[in-house]
Symmetry: C2
Subunit: 556 residues, 2 copies
């Protein structure tokens, strides 16, 4: 043996041979497998139009050829305003595969928000369903960059419009060449853009790269497919989105459906009766939606006698209420919650059962389905205190959910300050306050703006409200944080007692103290006697929520 | 509306905000999910030692601390010589997670090949099971870079050795700190290295980056998990490798098992009786092996009355013979073939049934399980003629399998010419000749060195041999390519007739001509009359295979 030092390269990077293909992760690769194996697999629009994956591939080429004729080049942004359709699915592929950016316009926001987003995005071309032409006409004078629109007449005759119409979608696509050669480019190229509709300020643009969309598809499909049975996706599922394709890319599931070669049902505008009819006639087995839509589906199904069994549904966008979950399970739906935000790809957690499968106890079963979820593979999900230290996994200590994952937005479009705030410290800050259970579930308990920071700990105002509300003499209650020189903040409770009650301040404190002793809450969570006030009523917002801003003003 | 040109960036790349985490794909991320969700999941070595995923994580940190003390730094290469063990699993993570390269030494190759590979790799440190110390001692004088060895005594007392022993594995690891901080680095950093044992020339080093290993794990887990039932992997499977961990990273499946948080059984050295005992006592449900091992397992199980039902096994490394497949299925094994090479990650195709599941017809069922496979998601698998044009998907026209995938080796270690040959034209050339069926299956029919290039087409010598062999009067037959000025090459057949046969040249030609008419083979596949020779015998190699090299010399 020799003492010669090994001549390893200091950076240890692999140097590819010149002819090697580096394989950037591009959306076009999601088509590879399904095209070869599922060429005859069917895609249907509302059960009225049907075509195959081979047709999809052809039409993607044709759409790209048509868009190129209209001047769309690498780096352009093309906006789409449509309900869930095969044409939207074609644009999910053709536009980013050209190197352009697919801008999915949220057609449910106000015309002013749409005008803001179209201007902020610099989109020069809009593919617009005829139904939304009036919206564009209304804001036409405000649009700074839109030069052309392509109308998706959707089988109806074209109507006159003052907008600069480049043509009708089918009239442009059908004669175009299917042999568009999709170029190779950097996997960090922007593929998709949309705007979040926050409660304050202008909408913020969120964008994703090809690499991020591909990694989201691979990671989520691994998570969705890997349970033994139940709460899972498999190759013979029939997929119908019920989260709009304009909303965070329908949670990325259309890309997964194409990757796996699933039969796909695109339901157009969501009408509960049509969704249920498609579920029945197209034998849909896999969907995702917000809890409100699930409630509408259950109601309509009960009314019309629809059988919902065999339907797997992920809910997201809001917590899944246990009552709704129980009703869905009783109607045969295998429902479970997912967690994510516009900024996070979106999916970072799913409340799939742990190995061992569904708990036999029905209450526990429902409780687990409604949890925020368990983090997905490749997702570094931490629940941290204000100093970025992980909170104990005790199911009780609250902290903010912060994230690293291969598919989180790298910042807001043209909003450097908001972007830095989102990513401060190198983790994406969700502003969701959660606890982590010993078995790895995350449960959101609050939004960070409603959390009270006191004595270096976080106290959930919603939790304290709930505990005070346990007292039979309490009609309602609001807890806010008030400034405190020593503790930073302290909780203050406004309590509305029931008529004729003799409830006192110490009754409230004693009740909370018992929850301190059972370790449910921190001792910092109990307001001082002078910070519990009995009032006649609590200010509400126009939609009936407790108006904490107004309360804070009152107590200043 | 304005005619202002939109100011899109010409390259359309996403510019991350400075604090955003770029998320390079690193092996350490495969641990994220399983650590949080499967902390109590069990890993066992031979059923004798058991620990949890939490222990695995701790020991990975300890191993890294111990290796750092021994001088291992980013860019170093650490060789491992072991049977399948928990220690090997620890090294699969700790070594690359440090930024060093894990060199998995094929302990079944000759001492000379091991010496060559150790020198070529520049490994300065070898983790070596005591059983392989004699091999290292034998080649000690030839080793140019190895400075230290760590002995894996595996519970036995250490024996004296002239090798420079740094210590015993457990003695070094157990006292070391578990809190090693694994650094961040470029995802293209070299993570693993091993040597292919080609039939000609020196072994060639194949390496994979962190990015490639992560993308292989995500892609293969999606493929393995997505079938509805059968031929699939799920979270409640119990995994035992029966392709050695020194062989192409055990096909990458240990990484998938950790990613999904599976129970893992590491069987040590492969002894059929022990493997079957572990299958029974540990309730193993998922494995992979070469057909020869499968045959051994079936034989041993029949002999000892073992029940093999509920065992899913992927075979690879050689074609799965239908007779063996049928016997395995009859013994309750859900067996199916996989395809790949050392250079390809390795897995690029699996013979999972298409949607619809297992064919009811048993012959068709077995036939499909034995096909080379259907390409996986993200894998651009083409079957091309010599001019790189795709051959028809007719199940008959042969071509070479060429590949693009996110996890193909980017070249051989320090072999620029072989690397360029591997990647000529931007596709990895497998040298496997295959046909593609209309339903997307690939079936290998030949190796390219045994294919005859004639008239711009490829003719499979093995196929022609088989067809000539159909004649009852033919005892055996060999077909080779001979040079031809007009056609490049032409097939030449050597035929050994059965004793007393009156078989003539035109009988052979007429027989082949019928297969031309049924479109089974090309008209170029029929040798001219003067290129069919009746002989007494055919030269064989020492292992009984037709010796085409010797035949070519005879016919020159």
């Amino acid at each position: 043996m020799s003492a010669t030092q090994a001549s390893d390269s200091p950076d240890n990077l692999i140097a590819p041979t010149p002819s090697a293909y580096a394989y950037p992760l591009l959306i076009k690769q999601l088509l590879l497998n399904s095209q070869s194996l599922s060429a005859h697999q069917e895609i249907t629009y509302r059960g009225k139009l049907r075509y195959t994956f081979a047709d999809l591939r052809r039409r993607i080429g044709q759409l790209a050829s048509a868009l190129e004729t209209l001047g769309v080049r690498h780096g352009a942004t093309v906006a789409v305003m449509d309900w869930d359709s095969h044409r939207y699915l074609e644009s999910y592929f053709a536009i980013p595969m050209m190197g352009a950016t697919l801008f999915t316009v949220n057609v449910r926001t106000s015309p002013q928000q749409i005008a803001y987003a179209l201007n902020d995005s610099h989109a020069a071309l809009v593919l617009v369903h005829a139904e939304f032409l009036p919206v564009l006409e209304q804001i036409q004078a405000e649009l700074k960059f839109v030069r052309q629109v392509v109308v998706l007449a959707d089988g109806h005759p074209m109507t006159p419009t003052p907008l600069p119409v480049a043509g009708e979608y089918e009239a442009l696509v059908e004669p175009a060449s299917p042999d568009f050669v999709f170029p190779e480019f950097d996997e960090n190229t922007r593929a998709a853009l949309f705007y979040t509709t926050g409660t304050t300020g202008d909408p913020k643009g969120v964008c994703y790269s090809h690499r991020q969309i591909v990694l989201h598809a691979l990671t989520i499909s691994t998570s969705l497919c890997s349970p033994r049975d139940g709460q899972r996706l498999h190759r013979e599922d029939v997929y119908m989105p019920i989260t709009p394709m304009f909303h965070v890319l329908a949670w990325g599931v259309p890309y997964i459906a194409v990757l796996l070669g699933l039969r796909i049902v695109l339901p157009g505008r969501y009408v509960p009766e049509i969704l249920l009819e498609l579920k029945k006639t197209e034998k849909v087995t896999f969907s995702h939606c917000v809890p409100t839509i699930l409630q509408m589906l259950l109601d309509a199904a009960r009314r019309d006698g629809h059988d919902l069994s065999g339907w797997k549904i992920i809910t997201g966008g809001a917590a899944l209420p246990p009552g709704l979950c129980r009703a869905a399970v009783e109607q045969g739906i295998d429902v479970f919650a997912g967690y994510g935000m516009s900024e996070t790809g979106p999916t970072v957690a799913l409340s799939q059962f742990p190995p061992g499968g569904a708990p036999a106890d029905q209450d526990e079963n429902v409780r687990k389905r409604c949890m925020t979820g368990r983090p997905l593979p490749m997702v570094d999900l931490r629940v941290v205190d204000p100093d970025m230290r992980d909170v104990p996994r005790d199911g009780a200590t609250p902290g903010e959910i912060v994230l690293r994952a291969p598919f989180l937005t790298q910042g807001y479009h043209n909003q450097p300050e908001a972007s830095e705030a989102l990513w401060r410290g190198g983790y994406l800050h969700t502003q969701d306050v959660a606890v982590m259970t010993p078995d790895g579930y995350v449960q959101i308990v609050d939004r960070i703006k409603d959390v009270i920071k006191t004595g270096g700990e976080w106290v959930s105002s919603i939790e304290i409200e709930g505990l005070i509300g346990e007292l039979p003499d309490v009609l309602e209650c609001a807890v806010i944080g008030v400034k405190d020189d020593k503790w930073g903040e302290r909780p203050m409770a406004l309590v509305v007692p029931v008529e004729g009650s003799s409830l006192g301040v110490e009754d409230v404190r004693e009740h909370l103290q018992r929850h301190v002793e059972s370790k449910r809450i921190s001792r910092y969570a109990v307001p001082e006697a002078n910070r519990i006030a009995f009032v006649d009523g609590i200010p509400k917002t126009s939609v009936g929520k407790i108006d904490k801003k107004a309360i804070r003003k009152l107590t200043e």
